[in-house]
Amino acid sequence: MAVQIAAASRSGLRSALPLLAPAYLWLTVAIFLPLSAMVFFSFMTDLPRSGKPWAFTLENYAAFFSQSLYLTLLVASLRLGLEVTLWCIVIGYPAAYVLAKVLKGRSREAIFLLVILPFWSNGLVRIFSWAMVLREGGILDTALNAVLPFKINIDLMYSYPAVIIGLVHSYVPYMVLTCYLTLQAIDDSLIEAGRSLGASRLQVLKRVIIPLSMPGLVAGAVLIFVPVVGSFMEPRILGGRTGTFYGTVIEDQFVAVFNWPLGAALSFILLAVVLVILAVTSPVLRRAA
């Protein structure tokens, strides 16, 4: 059938254009042009339409490299992304394994749906729900003090761990989803073959299952790491004053400080980091898809 596919290619684009053009024009106007414009504006002193005089400058990037604050925050955000990703692997991978290889039939389908259900529900609301649990006098505090004989003060709210908990809660379904998909594709007979060759459960896990599910693991890690590095709402709500990260600084430039060119430069630096990560992992990601 390769022949037929080739047959289409001559007049293909012309026939496909009416179908493709509306969608891709929309994406161009609302995504690709804005991203390009952001790069452009990041080299300006001020926005052309702001009424003030403007000029090209490297100042915004100079600010990033000269003031250690931005670099420190970027590193902090990268570390946050790394920590959240690791926790998601630690929590999500075993769950995906149990779903794919232990549970069977309808209960598996139902539980799988339950795990990924929060995936699409409102992220803001879910972060807010943790505030209910973590704050002083909140549920965790009250519950622990009701059980424990001694008085302890649980006030995780507005702390680094609170941000981590909230983000892990938000993103762990991604990890379960991607790992489940690759784990499910692993033929059970491979595991049995490994065992029949005398390998222990742990050896089979280490030498058969984990390598085979690596694409799913990497896909999940990227899907989590990238948005977490760019998160700002979660640290704001759960981190309070300790919740200053690279994302919140970008937010500030646009909604508080109104230094859009600097915000654009900071955004573009983040975009560059994201693109590098996507490019490096794309061979593995393509295998996962």
Binding site: L20, Y24, I31, W120, S121, H169
Partner: protein, 262 residues
């Protein structure tokens, strides 16, 4: 085999713990929306006054109406444009097709913070400005790739000979699409539409940067309220949102998963 049994049991317990981690905060938040104390104090006393007071909050109601309207329009536009684009990618082959398909992933993969601020700069720069129209423009762009991916996945199960068979029987392009292709991919189209609705209805980041004080959506309004201080009213509206989005997701799963087995 005893070890296997124990490990399986441990696995089940583990999954239950994960589900507890995922759902308990949401359940607690929902419960607190029915508690009398405005400071979330226990013991629990049942009330629906917070829901009642939502009806008095005109700002919130206006934001809700905006959110629903934008989500509905986003759904309609995305379903139409996304289905057309999926058909174009499915039916024809041409140089650069791989590239066009790859272009669908940046909008999904790039953090919304970047996309949102980029839209803000560009829309402001070219005179589109901020407001509900800008939010709609952004939401459609964010949801479109999801619709194309979902509908394309459904199209993968469609045999190209069916379109050829219809043409050989004298059907024109419109009849082929309308009577053969669309009925088959309809579950995918519906699922894609529901995805689009969910992406738009739950979208916070992009709406946040594109909204103006008078023209805002529900999540943006809630964020503003949260930053001012927690109130059971926020719990009430959050509970409504989470119920709506989870119901939508269940509906989507039904169409997308079980659609293929018919």
């Amino acid at each position: 085999m005893a070890t296997t049994r124990i490990l399986e049991w441990l696995g089940r317990v583990y999954i239950l713990m994960l589900l507890a981690f995922l759902y308990l905060p949401i359940i607690i938040m929902a419960l607190m929306s029915f508690n009398v104390s405005p400071f979330y104090q226990l013991p629990f006393e049942w009330t629906t006054e917070w829901y009642a007071s939502l009806w008095q909050n005109n700002q919130l109601i206006a934001a809700t109406r905006n959110s629903v309207e934008i989500a509905v329009i986003t759904t309609i536009i995305c379903t139409a444009l996304g289905t057309a684009a999926s058909l174009g990618l499915y039916r024809y082959d041409f140089r650069g097709k791989k590239f066009l398909q790859a272009l669908l992933f940046p909008p999904i993969a790039i953090p919304w913070l970047i996309t949102g601020t980029a839209m803000l700069i560009f829309f402001f720069g070219v005179g589109i400005g901020r407001g509900l129209h800008a939010i709609l423009l952004g939401h459609v762009a964010l949801a479109l790739p999801y619709v194309i991916v979902v509908v394309s996945a459904r199209l993968q199960t469609f045999a190209p000979e069916l379109e050829e068979a219809a043409r050989s029987l004298g059907a024109n392009q419109w009849q082929v699409t309308n009577r053969v292709t669309l009925p088959w991919i309809m579950p995918g189209v519906i699922a894609g539409g529901l995805f689009a609705f969910a992406v738009s209805f739950d979208q916070f980041v992009v709406s946040y940067f594109l909204s103006t004080p008078g023209q805002t959506t529900l999540p943006v309004e809630i964020y503003a309220a949260i930053r001012k201080g927690f109130t059971p009213e926020i719990n009430a509206v959050s509970t409504i949102i989470i119920v709506v989005s989870m119901a939508l997701m269940l509906l989507t799963a039904r169409f997308f998963k079980f659609g293929g087995e018919k």
